[in-house]
Symmetry: C2
Subunit: 412 residues, 2 copies
């Protein structure tokens, strides 16, 4: 039961905030205004990343476990913002990796599923937005805006209204009008506008239409990787994976459906922080290989990986049933590609037919997940067929959302 | 992480199964076939209830906590069926009571919400069906059928497919065709048929169409209270409430949206079992007053309560936006009414307008719940206006499902 009150404040163990490309420290430790992109790279800048005083945290935590706060707040020592009202986000995170006997048999690997559908808006976006919105508020933000490919806009609306902020301003692609995402965002008090065919186009319109408010700080841009809080929220998946499996029994592969890539980069960041805290030893424990999955219809990350680039070049999306994968660019492309390569992972594009088929297979196996999650099963099948993932490997599929919107989408 | 394997078996501490009206023991301890309604009352019979060897369990558990199995299985000592495969239902239950600061202020009571939306199919029905399907299988059932007002059919489909049983046979009201419930049930392998305007009509058609298979045991009827397992699953909400609040700080009122009433009766049964186990002392701890809520358009329980009846007489439903409340009869009416009266509670009908308004209020307060849950907030407002619930009372609203289907319903 969640009862006591707090006051929103920055984690005093934040060491600095650095540019993800140059590593330069771009902001003072006490943030007097919400953090955006870096100032050191050419405009609009590159994503900032929070760095903690890990030695201090290591000493203080010692060998004890994590905190006792509910959900993701048990990892508060490594989150940038603390002291949230207890009813703010006690219901986010702590999803469990569950082994599927039937899918294990069917795919010849030791198969685990981490289903994010139990989060309050039914997706992993709740992790990032719960932390991102809170961090923004701790730095003085009064109202947020973002373009969305669906779930993120709903989550931003939810956490805005939970702090009684003015309704989040959410830009959705034109064809989302009247659909579940639209109604959800409005239920949670958002002001919803429509523009373009996907998140990139909607974001462009949003930034032009609100240039003045964004410049003055009246509005804060919560786009993927445009501020460092969402990454911090998403990394809690990494902490949970290590707690759940144990450091010595981590998955050999983590297969992740990649839109903006916050979760992929976040999970890897969590592993690095745990290494610094002495809770994971890379000389003794093998870290998982990270696999990015996209739809063949919109695969900028997969293309960049196989071309050997160190950044992601935008593509023209042909559209995909997996809303969250309809992301034609990636401002953190360099981080996604570095994560895949450092981990010894790979990048896989799967067809629309394979995604839809995998969605049905998950359902018949009693797994309530969305098309984005289904793409990871489609990728596993491909990696098995290609011999890249060996028989008996321990594989974790990240199922990023529940099944409702995918089913609802079919009617539109 | 959930990994090891088991074998489905009955809890050896089941003492007997008794008729909920006469108390007669109608079945032997070793159940050689699935349990249905009692044989002692006039056909079709009345609900059976599982009774445990509570002294034995009390001695064995001692002062230790509950088990360490995931979700509702931590209460395995008081569940009728054990040894399920670990991937069967690790994701059911353990929803948390969260205090809402804003709704506390708005309603002048100390307000807590228990949101069941994090269950795998997004509703509290997962609790009942996870246990009901498993108990049926432990007693030899091979395939299940049920009429549904929505969520129950989806949950029955999910747990059937998780045990690789033949697709659950689900009868839905005609107007559910093509909607989210229909698609969900089919995703989880159900065979869906349509009949009538609501669950009562659909159930009648189902029982006539499959009389032979039901009589021979080829099909087992999982209708609300037609077998005792669903009640056992639902009672886990009661265990969680006591664990969450603590025995000395239980809510003064629990407000519950009542269709068939399994949860209301189940929560009360849990309290009685905890008393017998010495974990709750009714001389020292006040038990919550239980409030049943229905829509004015379909309020058989409310009518029976205020007429002073000891059973519920069917009504003609005029339909309600709260699908789960569109239940024109209640075979366990005697149990529902006894629970309300023993607890010193009451029964409240709320208007459709009040339900829809409360749904919007929940949304604006960042609570992702369905129309059925919203009916409890509408009831609280009415009880406050009538002076029945005093200022400062500790109130728990049971929010039985997430917001997706209610939002999806608006388009149909």
């Amino acid at each position: 039961m969640v009862e006591s009150e707090g006051r929103i404040h920055l984690n005093p163990d934040i060491a600095r905030v650095v540019c993800s490309v140059t590593g330069s420290e771009t902001e003072a430790k006490q943030f007097s205004r919400p953090l955006g992109l870096c100032g050191c790279c050419p405009p609009p800048g590159k994503p900032l990343v929070v760095v903690y005083e890990l030695d201090t945290i290591r000493e203080r935590l010692g060998d004890t476990g994590w905190g006792t706060d509910p959900g993701i707040w048990r990892y508060g020592a490594l989150l940038p913002v603390l002291g949230l009202p207890p009813s703010y986000a006690p219901d986010v995170g702590l999803t469990q990796a569950v082994r599927s006997e039937s899918l294990t048999r069917e795919n010849g690997v030791d198969l685990y599923l981490k289903n994010e559908g139990s989060n309050p808006t039914g997706s992993f976006k709740d992790r990032g937005l719960a932390v991102g919105i809170a961090l923004g508020v701790a730095c003085g933000a009064k109202r947020f805006c973002l373009p969305t490919q669906g779930n993120a806009g709903v989550a931003a609306a939810l956490f805005s209204t939970r702090l009684s902020l003015p309704g989040c301003l959410v830009y959705m692609p034109e064809n989302y009008r009247g659909g579940l995402y639209h109604r959800e965002a409005e239920l949670f008090g958002a002001e919803v506008r429509f523009a373009g065919a996907n998140i990139a186009a909607a974001g462009k319109v949003m930034r032009e239409a609100h240039a003045d408010e964004l410049a003055s700080g009246q509005l804060v841009d919560m786009s993927t990787f445009f501020e460092p809080g969402r990454l911090e929220g998403k990394k809690t998946m990494g902490f949970e994976i290590v707690e759940d499996f144990g450091p010595g029994k981590l998955p050999d592969w983590i297969i992740y459906p990649t839109g903006g890539g916050t979760g992929l980069v976040g999970i890897w960041k969590a592993f690095q922080e745990l290494i610094a805290l002495g809770r994971l030893d890379p000389t003794e424990h093998s870290l998982p290989r990270m696999v990015a999955v996209q739809s063949e219809n919109c695969a900028p990350v997969i293309e960049a990986f196989h071309r050997g680039l160190d950044h992601v070049e935008p593509v023209e999306s042909e559209g995909t049933v997996a809303d969250g994968l309809d992301v034609p660019g990636a401002i953190m492309g360099h981080g996604i590609l570095a994560t895949i390569r450092e981990s010894g992972g790979t990048a896989v594009a799967v067809s629309e037919v394979a995604i839809i088929d995998a969605f049905r297979v998950l359902g018949r196996n009693g797994i309530a997940a969305s098309y984005e999650g289904a793409a990871t099963l489609a990728a596993l099948r491909k990696l098995r067929a290609d011999g890249l993932v060996a028989v008996g490997s321990r594989v974790l599929l990240l199922l990023t959302a529940n099944h409702f919107v995918s089913l609802g989408r079919e009617s539109t």
